[in-house]
C-alpha cells in the first residue's frame, strides 16, 4: 500500500514537472511582440517602472534570455522557493495577491460542495431505486438540464428574476453599500446574502453530473448478484438498499468526491466574473486577459498541482475503500 502511494506520488511529481515545462514553453512561445506591447503599456502608466525594467523583470524571473530549457530551470529554481515574481497587473507579489483571494473561492467551493452532495446523492439513489418511473424521468431530465445549462445564461436569468424584478439581491459584488456601518455579525450576514445567488448557480450546475453518476452506479449495484441474494433472503427493501446497495455505491462516489476536493480551490471563473466576486477565478481571469504573465504562469501551475492532487487522492481513496483493489 505504501509502495503504491509512493510510486504514485513520484509519478505525479514527474507529470507536474512535465506539465509545468509545457506551460512555460507555451508562454515563452507567445510572440515577443505581445509581451513587449504589454510591457510598453505598463511602462506608459504614470509612476510605473520603465519599459526596460519590466522586460528585465520578465527576463530575470523567466529566464527569457536563456533557451527554453535553461529558462525553465531558472524559473523552477525560483518557484520552488516560493518566489513567483511580482504580478504585472496587481503590482504586488503573486503569492500575496493569491492569498488574498483564495479563501473566498474556497469558502464558496466548500458551501456549494456540501449542498451538491446532500442534494445529488440522495436524488440519484432515489432515481435508481425507482427506475423508469416518473420520478426517475424527472430526476434524469433535471440532471441533464443541469449539465446542459450554460453558466452565464443561468446566472443572467437569475440576475434578471431575483435582482432586477424581485429586487431581493444585489446585482453583484461581495458587500453591500452599508457594509462599513454594520457591526461584525451583520457584516457577515451581508456577505452571506451576497453569496446566495453565486452558490445557487454553482450548485445547480454541478448536481447534474453527480446525480447521474450516482444513479448509474446504483443501478449497476442493484443488478448484481449479492443484492438479489439479499432480497431472496427476505431482507426488507429498506435494509437492502440502505445497508447493502448504498455502501457499494459509495465506493466510486467517494473516490470522485475525494478527487474533486482539491478542485474546491480552483474557483469558478464565469460565476465569479458575472457576480463580480473577487475570488481566485475572477482575479486570474482579469490577469490572463491583461497579459499578466507571472500571475498566469502561477495560476496554471497551481491548477496542475490541484488536478494531480485530486487524481492522487482519488486513487488512494479507491485503494482504501475497495479492498479488492488493494489485493491486486
Amino acid at each position: 500500500m505504501r509502495k503504491f502511494i509512493i510510486k504514485r506520488i513520484l509519478l505525479s511529481i514527474l507529470i507536474l514537472v512535465l506539465s509545468a515545462f509545457i506551460i512555460y514553453a507555451l508562454l515563452r512561445m507567445l510572440p515577443t511582440s505581445y509581451l513587449e506591447t504589454i510591457a510598453m503599456n505598463k511602462s506608459m502608466q504614470p509612476g510605473s517602472k520603465t519599459y526596460t525594467e519590466w522586460m528585465e523583470q520578465l527576463s530575470s524571473t523567466y529566464g527569457m534570455d536563456k533557451g527554453i530549457i535553461g529558462g525553465f530551470f531558472s524559473w523552477a529554481a525560483n518557484a520552488v522557493r516560493g518566489d513567483f515574481g511580482d504580478s504585472w497587473l496587481w503590482t504586488v507579489p503573486v503569492v500575496e495577491k493569491f492569498n488574498s483571494c483564495i479563501w473566498l473561492s474556497f469558502i464558496m467551493g466548500v458551501i456549494s460542495f456540501f449542498f451538491e452532495l446532500i442534494i445529488a446523492i440522495p436524488l440519484g439513489i432515489i432515481a435508481a431505486t425507482k427506475q423508469y418511473s416518473r420520478t426517475d424521468y424527472a430526476i434524469t431530465i433535471i440532471a441533464i438540464a443541469g449539465i446542459s445549462l450554460p453558466t452565464f445564461f443561468f446566472a443572467s436569468l437569475l440576475k434578471l428574476v431575483f435582482c432586477v424584478k424581485l429586487k431581493w439581491f444585489d446585482l453583484g459584488g461581495l458587500i453591500g453599500r452599508n457594509y462599513d456601518h454594520l457591526d461584525s455579525f451583520h457584516q457577515f450576514l451581508d456577505k452571506a446574502h451576497h453569496l446566495v445567488l453565486p452558490i445557487i448557480v454553482l450548485v445547480v450546475l454541478s448536481i447534474g453530473g453527480l446525480m447521474r453518476y450516482t444513479r448509474t452506479n446504483m443501478l449497476e449495484v442493484l443488478n448484481s448478484d449479492y443484492i438479489r441474494t439479499a432480497r431472496a433472503k427476505g431482507l426488507s427493501e429498506k435494509n437492502v438498499i440502505y445497508n447493502h446497495a448504498f455502501r457499494n455505491t459509495l465506493i466510486p462516489i467517494v473516490t470522485i468526491v475525494g478527487g474533486s476536493l482539491p478542485g474546491l480551490f480552483s474557483g469558478a471563473l464565469i460565476t465569479e466574473t458575472l457576480f463580480s466576486i473577487s475570488g481566485i477565478g475572477f482575479v486570474s481571469y482579469q490577469s490572463m486577459k491583461a497579459g499578466d504573465i507571472p500571475f498566469s504562469m502561477f495560476y496554471m501551475v497551481f491548477l496542475a498541482v490541484l488536478t494531480l492532487a485530486g487524481n492522487l487522492i482519488a486513487d488512494i481513496l479507491y485503494a482504501v475503500v475497495d479492498p479488492r483493489v488493494r489485493i491486486s
Binding site: I15, L16, L18, S19, I22, I23, L26, L27, L30, P31, S33, Y34, T37, I38, Y137, T140, I141, I144, A145, I147, S148, L149, P150, T151, F152, F153, S156, L157, K159, L160, V164, L171, N223, L269, I270, T273, S284, Y285, M288, K289, A290, G291, S296, Y299, M300, L303, A304, T307, L308, N311
Partner: protein, 514 residues
C-alpha cells in the same frame, strides 16, 4: 382478419425447428428500435432536428444577411445655438488706431473699478470717457479718435455675420449710451431704438445687445427677430421656444447650462442612426441588436457557427483520440505507458486558462476573425483528444481479452483485418455516445469563450457572442428579446445532444431491459 389469417398461414408453414420463426433484427435495427422506444431520447432527437433546420435552412431562407445593418431615423436633440450674457468687458478696437493690448485692457478694467477716469500703462496715458450705460470710450492722450471702446453690449450686423466698422459701432454705442435716437454715419441717418436696434429707413441693419447669441450649427444665420423672440422667451423662463419663419414653425428647447453660464438652444433634428435594440416587429421578428442587425438572422447564423465548430472539433478529437488510444491499447508495453503519460500531462494542463491566454494574445495581435475561428477549432480539438484516447484504450484493453479476439488470432486473420473488422466495430457504440456528449460540451465551451469575448468575434454571430451583450444591465432588463432566445437555443441544443447521447447509451447497453 385477413392479415391475421395470412400471418398464421406463414408461421404454420415453418416447422418448429426453423430459425425463420424467430424474428431477428440486425444490431443496428435493434439499437434503433430501442432508441425510439425511449421517449426522452426521441424528444432530444426532435429538438436536434429542429435546431438543424433552424440554423441551416432558416439561414438560407432569411431575407437578411448576418451582418446587414438596419437604419432608422431618430429625432435627436442637437445643439442649435447658445445664449450667454456678457459679464465681462468687451473691447472693440479701432482698426485705424494703434491697437489696445490685453495688458492695457486689464489696466483699464482696474481703473474703472477704482472709479478713475484716466490711467497709465506701458509709458502711455489714457483717458476714459463714460458714454453712459456702462459704455466707455478710451482715448490715448494726443490722439483724437478713441483707440478702443469698452462695453458689455455687443454690436452685430443684422444682415449677415460680417463685422461692422469700428466707427459705426462706436457711434451706435454712443447713441445707445446717451439715450439718443439717431446718429449719422457716412452721410446716412440711422435710427436707434430702446432695444438697441439700428435702422436705416425701414430695415434693421444692426443691433446692440448685452446677450451674445451664437449659432452652433454651421451655415445657420440667426435673424434679429429670432434673437429678440429668443431673448423674450428666456426672460420669461420658458422651456420651449417656437419660431415661425417663412410660414414654417420650428420648435426649440431652452436649457440652462450651469458650467458655462449660458443657455443652450436645442433643436430636434431627424438623424439616421443604427436601428439598435428595436422591439420585435413584423420586419424583425426578434428585434435588432446593439448594432442594428436583425436578431433572428443572427441567431440562425450563430447556430450554424456553433454547430460547425462543434462538429469539426469533435471530429479532430475523435480522429486523434482513436488513433492514439488504439495504438496504446492494442500494442501495450512501453508504447502504452508512454502514451498514457502524455495523456496524463495533457490532463494536467488546465485547458480553460490556456485558451483564455491564447485568446487574449490573439486579441492583442489582431488576428482576423475567420482565422481566429480556425485556430479556436484546432486548439479545442487538440486539447480534447486525451479524454477520448483514454476511453478507447480502456475499451480496447478489455476487448482484447475477450474470446472473439482470441478466435480471430487463432483463425490467422491479419492484424489489419483484426483491428478494423473486429475490434473497431465493438468500440463504435461507446465512441458514438462519447462523441455525442462531447458535442454538447464543446458547444458549451465555445459559447462560454465567445461570451468572454475570446471565441467567435464580431461580425460573425455565435450564440455566446449574442449573450455577451447582457453584461450591460440595461440590456439585461429591458431587451430580453436579445439574450433570452439565444440562451434558450443554446440550452436546447446542448440538452438535445445530451439526451440523444444518453438514449444512445441506453440503447447500446446490452444489459438494459429489452
Amino acid at each position: 382478419m385477413d392479415n391475421e389469417n395470412n400471418k398464421n398461414v406463414q408461421t404454420e408453414e415453418y416447422s418448429l425447428n426453423d430459425d425463420r420463426r424467430v424474428k431477428t433484427l440486425s444490431p443496428g435495427a435493434m439499437v434503433t428500435k430501442r432508441f425510439l422506444r425511449n421517449k426522452v431520447a426521441v424528444t432530444g432527437l426532435i429538438i436536434l432536428a429542429f435546431m438543424f433546420i433552424f440554423s441551416f435552412i432558416g439561414g438560407a431562407i432569411s431575407p437578411y444577411r448576418e451582418d446587414e445593418v438596419f437604419y432608422r431615423t431618430d429625432i435627436q436633440s442637437k445643439l442649435f445655438a447658445s445664449v450667454a450674457e456678457n459679464t465681462e468687458f468687451r473691447f472693440i478696437i479701432n482698426e485705424n488706431g494703434e491697437g489696445f493690448s490685453p495688458i492695457n485692457q486689464a489696466a483699464f478694467t482696474l481703473a474703472v473699478i477704482e472709479g478713475r477716469d484716466s490711467f497709465e500703462k506701458g509709458g502711455d496715458s489714457f483717458t476714459i470717457v463714460d458714454e453712459g450705460d456702462e459704455i466707455y470710450a478710451i482715448f490715448k492722450d494726443g490722439v483724437a479718435d478713441p483707440v478702443a471702446v469698452a462695453t458689455y453690449d455687443i454690436v452685430s450686423s443684422a444682415t449677415g455675420n460680417e463685422k461692422l466698422p469700428f466707427e459705426m459701432q462706436y457711434l451706435i454705442l454712443k447713441t445707445v449710451g446717451s439715450d439718443e435716437s439717431q446718429f449719422e454715419y457716412q452721410g446716412k441717418t440711422y435710427k436707434v431704438d430702446e432695444e438697441g436696434n439700428v435702422q436705416l429707413g425701414n430695415d434693421v441693419v444692426a443691433y446692440a445687445s448685452r446677450y451674445s447669441i451664437q449659432a452652433l450649427m454651421p451655415d445657420i444665420f440667426l435673424s434679429q427677430q429670432f434673437k429678440n423672440e429668443l431673448l423674450e422667451s428666456i426672460e420669461n423662463g420658458d422651456k420651449d421656444f417656437y419660431f415661425t419663419e417663412n410660414g414654417e414653425t420650428a420648435e426649440y428647447t431652452i436649457e440652462y447650462d450651469a458650467p458655462t453660464k449660458s443657455y443652450k438652444i436645442k433643436q430636434g433634428m431627424d438623424t439616421v442612426v443604427f436601428d439598435s435594440f428595436s422591439a420585435p416587429s413584423k420586419e424583425h421578428l426578434l428585434g435588432t441588436d446593439r448594432n442594428g442587425m436583425d436578431m433572428l438572422t443572427r441567431l440562425m447564423y450563430g447556430g450554424r457557427v456553433s454547430l460547425y465548430i462543434g462538429f469539426i472539433v469533435v471530429a479532430i478529437e475523435t480522429v486523434l483520440g482513436v488513433i492514439m488510444g488504439g495504438i496504446s491499447g492494442y500494442f501495450g508495453g512501453w508504447v502504452d505507458n508512454l502514451i498514457m503519460r502524455i495523456v496524463d500531462v495533457f490532463y494536467c494542463i488546465p485547458s480553460m486558462p490556456l485558451i483564455i491566454i491564447l485568446g487574449a494574445a490573439m486579441d492583442e495581435m489582431r488576428v482576423d476573425p475567420q482565422i481566429r475561428m480556425i485556430y479556436l477549432m484546432l486548439i479545442l480539438g487538440f486539447l480534447g483528444w486525451p479524454g477520448i484516447a483514454r476511453m478507447i484504450r480502456g475499451l480496447i484493453l478489455s476487448l482484447r481479452e475477450q474470446e472473439f479476439m482470441t478466435a480471430t488470432e487463432a483463425t490467422g486473420l491479419s492484424v489489419k483485418r483484426r483491428i478494423f473488422r473486429h475490434l473497431i466495430p465493438n468500440v463504435i457504440p461507446q465512441l458514438i455516445v462519447t462523441m455525442t456528449m462531447s458535442l454538447g460540451s464543446t458547444i458549451l465551451m465555445e459559447a462560454t469563450l465567445s461570451f468572454l469575448g475570446l471565441g467567435v468575434k464580431f461580425p460573425f454571430a455565435s450564440w455566446g457572442n449574442i449573450i455577451s451583450d447582457v453584461n450591460d444591465t440595461y440590456v439585461l432588463t429591458n431587451y430580453w428579446f436579445i439574450w433570452i432566445p439565444a440562451g434558450f437555443c443554446l440550452l436546447l441544443t446542448v440538452l438535445a445532444f445530451n439526451l440523444v447521447g444518453d438514449g444512445l447509451r441506453d440503447a447500446f447497453d446490452p444489459r438494459m431491459k429489452r
